[in-house]
């Protein structure tokens, strides 16, 4: 029986879409019928299996500046073509492009429930953000990997569109999506575990069935030489916010942090703050917020000259069931701000 010919829509940025370089990174989403640029390679690989019916092109800055909104606009350009699958990029190491490709694939997957694939280098920020929502094929940093990436992307979406399963990340060359699938094995778990252990003891290569979490090794900052001239900042993950939580920091799975002025404040007053954090009983911190963010003591130390200065803001988020990627981004953003403002060191009080 002849398989249905697949309709594919391809997403490209302004550069690969042939519109222009950085000078055109602000163009609004637009659609062209048929394949453009690297879309020709997609069509070549597809052959008789399908057709690139349209190409959506958008500027990288347009996307980066308003991701959700632009993804929505791209969806509406794709919709009339009724594709069976969408392919984006590949973006290689281009960060804004990678985020755009990931966002397009995620939105298409969620709204149209059709298979999607894109391609990125492992350092692309779009990779960690979107790996769970689509299939991101591993590529080198630059375009020499174009044909190989396109082949893998097309192979993945055509099989998925046909109702077939796609193999493991290591087999197919895409970044792990963090999913576990059930498989049948001729050996019991005990047999497989012992075989793996024997390989490990012999120094032979082995593949863990479950991937272990990767923790960063972070170089600690060097010691403070002269605390008497240091600026000390206070940070907390206890979710202390100004009454009413004006920035709507989430009490669980926080995606953002707040920075609140303590300029001229000798100690935090219970009327001015409250806790938004699902993980502990805030009763004692509500009575006296200095029990979490010790402004009163730091202010005394500043007046005594034990520290040079208490930084004029404290930083806060709720460290309850956070996604590692989000909390890492929050930490980096706070660190960047502290460095930019000449802060020497920080005390983070944690619940």
């Amino acid at each position: 029986m002849q398989k249905k010919s697949l309709r594919i829509v391809h997403y490209l940025n302004q550069f690969f879409g042939g519109v222009g370089g950085e000078d055109k990174a602000h163009i609004e989403p637009q659609v062209i019928e048929g394949a453009v640029g690297p879309g020709m390679a997609v069509q070549n690989v597809l052959g008789e299996q399908g057709t690139v019916v349209a190409t959506v092109i958008c500027g990288d800055n347009t996307f980066a500046e308003k991701i959700e909104e632009t993804a929505g606009e791209v969806l509406e350009l794709i919709r009339p073509f009724q594709p069976d699958a969408v392919i984006a990029g590949p973006a290689f190491a281009a960060g804004r492009y990678g985020i755009a490709c990931g966002a397009v694939c995620k939105a298409v997957q969620e709204q149209f429930s059709i298979p999607t694939a894109t391609g990125m280098n492992e350092e692309n920020p779009g990779m960690d953000l979107f790996r769970e929502y689509t299939y991101i094929v591993k590529t080198p940093k630059t375009g020499i990997g174009m044909v190989d990436a396109v082949s893998k992307m097309v192979s993945i979406v055509t099989r998925l569109a046909d109702g077939q399963r796609v193999g493991k990340p290591s087999e197919e060359g895409y970044f792990s999506r963090g999913l576990m699938t059930n498989d049948l094995s001729a050996q019991t778990g005990a047999e497989r575990a012992v075989a793996m252990l024997l390989d490990k003891l012999k120094g032979k290569p082995f593949e863990s069935e479950i991937s272990l979490p990767q923790y960063d090794r972070v170089e600690p900052a060097p010691k403070i030489q002269d605390m008497g001239s240091a600026t000390v900042a206070l940070i907390t993950d206890g979710g202390l916010v100004p009454t009413g939580n004006p920035d709507k920091i989430e009490s669980v799975g926080a995606t953002k942090f707040g920075a609140y002025s303590i300029e001229g404040v000798d100690g935090l007053h219970p009327d001015d703050y409250e806790v938004y954090h699902i993980g502990y009983d805030p009763i004692f911190v509500h009575e006296d917020p200095n029990r979490l963010v010790p402004v009163d003591v730091l202010r005394d130390l500043e007046k005594e000259g034990a520290i040079g200065k208490l930084h004029n803001k404290f930083y806060t988020t709720a460290g309850a069931v956070c996604i590692v990627e989000n909390i890492r981004r929050i930490g980096q953003a706070i660190a960047d701000e502290l460095k930019a403002e000449g802060v020497s060191c920080a005390i983070l009080t944690s619940t």
Partner: protein
């Protein structure tokens, strides 16, 4: 158990740098002693335990 001199043991989850069972003036001294430990840690090189 993760350990480092730059991780100073706070009092309790619900009151990291306080103790509601102490009189306020005494509690502030207690808070001060914990902060002093934190500042001491910042004045030393980081060490694993």
């Amino acid at each position: 158990m993760v350990g480092s001199n730059r991780i100073v043991k706070a009092h309790k989850i619900v009151t990291p740098v306080g103790d509601p069972h102490l009189e306020p003036e005494v509690e502030k001294i207690f808070r001060h002693s914990l902060i002093e430990k934190a500042l001491d840690a910042l004045k030393e090189d980081a060490k694993g335990e």
